[in-house]
């Protein structure tokens, strides 16, 4: 079974769109899917330090947002930006790490809450009810997510992502070595899970 890792943060709309597709894709390709939460703020800090993250000119930004909505329509996953964006996703990400057997269910539920219901996923009570919806022991998972161990896990996983060359979300790794960035590259993810290895890049 080919290994597929999906690095994401709830605060990224592109990661949300990818999350709506990634399981079916993994199933089609008989791949072993790993949900890999990372803290995008930490990735950006590593890349840009205290400097502002560069933003494109207004004309381009506006078109990029339209493009994003076209993708939402394409995948039939409508969403809009919540007022509180970007919200702090650290606790929610740690919940995914705290309950690996429920990683997919928790991730789907939190993504939906953020991008479709505009819920405050940094709020303890909100998280509790999302965890319950995802079918897990909300109290146990939330408490675990607050532990030093889980805080360290999220930091370590974020560092791992940075070390492996991640600079944005979503980022996929096929068989550990082949990194693919972007929800608009699912075709490449699928081709690579099927064994595609472009010469000079993914193959000597």
């Amino acid at each position: 079974m080919a290994r597929l890792e999906f690095f994401f943060d709830f605060t990224c709309p592109y990661a949300f769109l990818a999350s709506t597709q990634v399981e079916e894709l993994a199933e089609r390709c008989a791949a072993d899917l790993h949900w890999r939460p990372m803290f995008l703020g930490g990735v950006f800090r590593a890349l840009y330090g205290e400097a502002a993250i560069p933003t494109p000119p207004a004309v381009k930004l506006e078109r990029i947002k339209r493009d994003l909505q076209r993708w939402a329509q394409h995948w039939d996953a409508p969403f809009s930006y919540p007022q509180a964006h970007p919200n702090n996703s650290a606790a929610a990400l740690r919940c995914v790490l705290a309950a690996p057997e429920h990683a997919a269910a928790i991730s789907h539920r939190v993504f939906r809450a953020y991008w479709q219901e505009h819920a405050d996923i940094s709020d303890r009570n909100v998280l509790y009810s999302l965890l319950e919806d995802a079918g897990c022991d909300a109290h146990a998972v939330f408490e675990a997510s607050q532990s030093d161990m889980l805080r360290k896990s999220l930091r370590d996983d974020t560092d791992e992502a940075i070390e492996r060359g991640v600079f944005g979300a979503p980022t996929f790794f096929v068989e550990r070595d082949h990194m693919i960035w972007g929800q608009d590259r699912l075709l490449f993810v699928e081709k690579m899970l099927g064994g595609w290895r472009p010469e000079g890049v993914d193959r000597a």
């Binding site: 890349l47 000119p57 381009k60 078109r63 493009d67 909505q69 060359g165 608009d184 890049v201």
Partner: protein
């Protein structure tokens, strides 16, 4: 919708993404029964007008730059076309684009394909008169097309085409327009372009 859908491709030879897109444009138009129009522009002029980076590719952080250039090779293999990142980048494309401006749409395809390949496959200096002259010669086009790139009327054609691009919202290359209205940016949006040529109208136009 018109009888035959119209696909316009705004490009600059200096963009590797435009090269990749250009290798697919005619086949895509044929599949969708569309007419294809090549619309030259100077990316430098576009970037100045919108207030962005003059060479966006070089403004990325090192790690992203590496990834993006790696990905260009993946795309080239995906499309099944040769590609080598040009040793002279960015490239001055004023003359080559002024040649495009003087050609009829029917003549443009061959010149565009040959010039893109000269730069992004053969690593030639397409700002050089000798290189451009030999491309014209190879295609059986008159060398006067090169001489006339110094004429004001020809300079004005390229300026008008670049202004037109900016006015229509272009901010990068390649940019596609379907039936004059729907705009798509990127050689990685050809699936959307094809859907649009076949009648898809996204809710967000």
């Amino acid at each position: 919708m018109p009888d035959r859908p119209l696909l316009e491709c705004f490009f600059d030879f200096s963009s590797p993404f435009a090269y990749l897109g250009a290798t697919q444009a005619q086949a895509l138009a044929d599949r969708a029964g569309a007419d294809l129009k090549w619309q030259p522009m100077l990316l430098g002029g576009v970037f100045r007008a919108i207030g962005g980076e003059m060479v966006p590719l070089k403004s990325f952080t090192a790690v992203k730059q590496r990834y993006v250039s790696l990905e260009l090779h993946r795309w080239a293999e995906h499309w099944g076309v040769p590609f080598a990142f040009a040793s002279r980048f960015p490239m001055n494309t004023v003359k080559s684009q002024r040649i495009v401006c003087q050609l009829d749409q029917g003549q443009r395809g061959a010149f565009v394909a040959r010039t893109f390949a000269a730069f992004w496959v053969d690593d030639l200096d397409i700002s050089d008169d000798g290189v451009l002259a030999s491309i014209l010669d190879e295609l059986g086009l008159p060398s006067s097309l090169l001489d006339r790139t110094k004429e004001q009327s020809v300079k004005d054609l390229l300026r008008a085409s670049t202004d037109d691009a900016v006015e229509r919202g272009v901010f990068g290359a390649p940019t596609w327009f379907v039936n004059g209205e729907l705009m798509f940016w990127g050689q990685d949006r050809l699936d959307f372009v094809e859907k649009a040529l076949r009648g898809w109208i996204p809710e967000v136009g």
